[in-house]
Symmetry: C2
Subunit: 192 residues, 2 copies
C-alpha cells in the first residue's frame, strides 16, 4: 500500500451510502504532509508528459492543485461553481452533477486562462461517477487545449468514472482506488 | 512597493464599482510564484506569534492557506459554504455576506477540527467590509481558540473591514492595502 492508501486504511471512516469520510486530512482539514506526498506522487507519475498548467475545480481540488503547482512550477486554474461580479470575461461553461451536494452545477473558466497551446493536467480529490472530471475535459476541449493526464487522489473503483475515462483513452492516475468498502465490517479494499 | 503591490500596479485591472480584477494570478488562475512570495511574507510577518493551524474559507483562501501551511508546516482548515452529505459532525456556524456574490452565506467548520488549544492564523485573499474574516473570528471563538493573527493578501483600505479589525485589537497584516483606486484614471495608490 502507498502512503495515501495506508492513511485511508488507518483513519478513513466508512459511512452509510458508500461514503468515505476523510475530511480530516483531505478536504476540510488539510494535512500538509499528505498534500506533499500526493504532489510528489503525481509529479513522478506524470513526469513523462508535458504539463503547462493544472486545471481543477473549487473547492477541494485547489489544495492538491496548488501543492502540485508548487512542485511542478506551473500555474493552476480552478473552475468556479458560480459567477462572480468581478469578471466580465467570456467563459467556458460545462455542467456537472455533484454527488456530494446532490445538485447540478455549472462550472466556469474564464477564456483568457486556457489556451489551445496548453497541456493540461486535470486534478481532483475524488473521482466517483466522473461528472466533475468530464466537465473539466469538456472545458479543456472547448479551449482547444490538450489533456495530458488526469490525477485523482481517491477513486471509487466501483463507480463508473474511472472505467469510462480509461475506456476513453485518458491517462488517468488515481493514487488510491477503492474497489470495495463495507460499512458493517469496516473493510476497505484497494485495487492492486 | 513590495512584490504583491508591484504585481497589482503592473497587472491589476480596475473595473467600475470599486472592483479590482486580479483573478489572473490570485483567485481564478493562480500564479505559483506569487503564492510563494505571499506565503514567505506571511511567514516572516507572523514569525513572533504561535500558530498551530491556519483557518480560511473556501474557495480562494485555500490556495494561500495551503502554500502557507506548507511553509509553516501546520494544518489548514477551510470553512465551507454549504453542507455536504459526507459529514454528520457537529459544526460551528457563522454568517457572512459575500460582496463578490451579493448574498448571505452561512459558513461552517466541523467541530473536531478546531480545539480550544489552537492558535489560529486566519487567512484570506481579500478584505473589504470584513464579513468573511469576522465570521472566521466568530467560529474561532465558538471553538474557544485563540486568534493569533489575520493575514490578508489585498485589503481595500477604503472599506471598513481593516479599520474595524485593527480597532478591535487584532494583529492584522495585509500585504497590499489599496487606499485609492480610480476607474477613469487607472490610478491605484497603496498605503505606505
Amino acid at each position: 500500500m502507498n502512503y495515501l492508501e495506508e492513511k485511508i486504511q488507518r483513519e478513513g471512516e466508512i459511512r452509510p451510502g458508500n461514503i468515505l469520510k476523510i475530511d480530516h486530512f483531505l478536504n476540510h482539514q488539510i494535512d500538509i504532509d499528505v498534500m506533499r506526498h500526493i504532489a510528489e506522487d503525481f509529479k513522478q507519475r506524470f513526469s513523462d508528459v508535458p504539463v503547462s498548467k493544472i486545471l481543477t475545480v473549487e473547492a477541494s481540488g485547489i489544495a492538491i492543485g496548488v501543492m502540485l503547482g508548487h512542485y511542478l512550477d506551473v500555474p493552476v486554474v480552478f473552475a468556479k461553481k458560480s459567477e462572480t461580479l468581478n469578471s466580465t470575461d467570456e467563459k467556458y461553461v460545462s455542467k456537472a452533477f455533484s454527488f456530494t451536494h446532490k445538485k447540478e452545477n455549472h462550472i466556469f473558466v474564464s477564456k483568457p486562462y486556457l489556451q489551445a497551446s496548453d497541456n493540461l493536467l486535470i486534478i481532483d480529490d475524488f473521482l466517483a461517477d466522473g461528472e466533475a472530471v468530464h466537465a473539466l475535459i469538456d472545458i479543456s476541449h472547448q479551449a482547444g487545449a490538450t489533456v495530458s493526464g488526469i490525477g485523482i487522489a481517491v477513486e471509487k473503483g466501483n463507480q463508473k468514472g474511472g472505467r469510462e475515462l480509461r475506456a476513453e483513452g485518458y491517462r488517468l492516475e488515481s493514487l488510491a482506488i477503492i474497489d470495495y468498502m463495507d460499512y458493517e465490517s469496516k473493510v476497505i479494499r484497494f485495487r492492486e
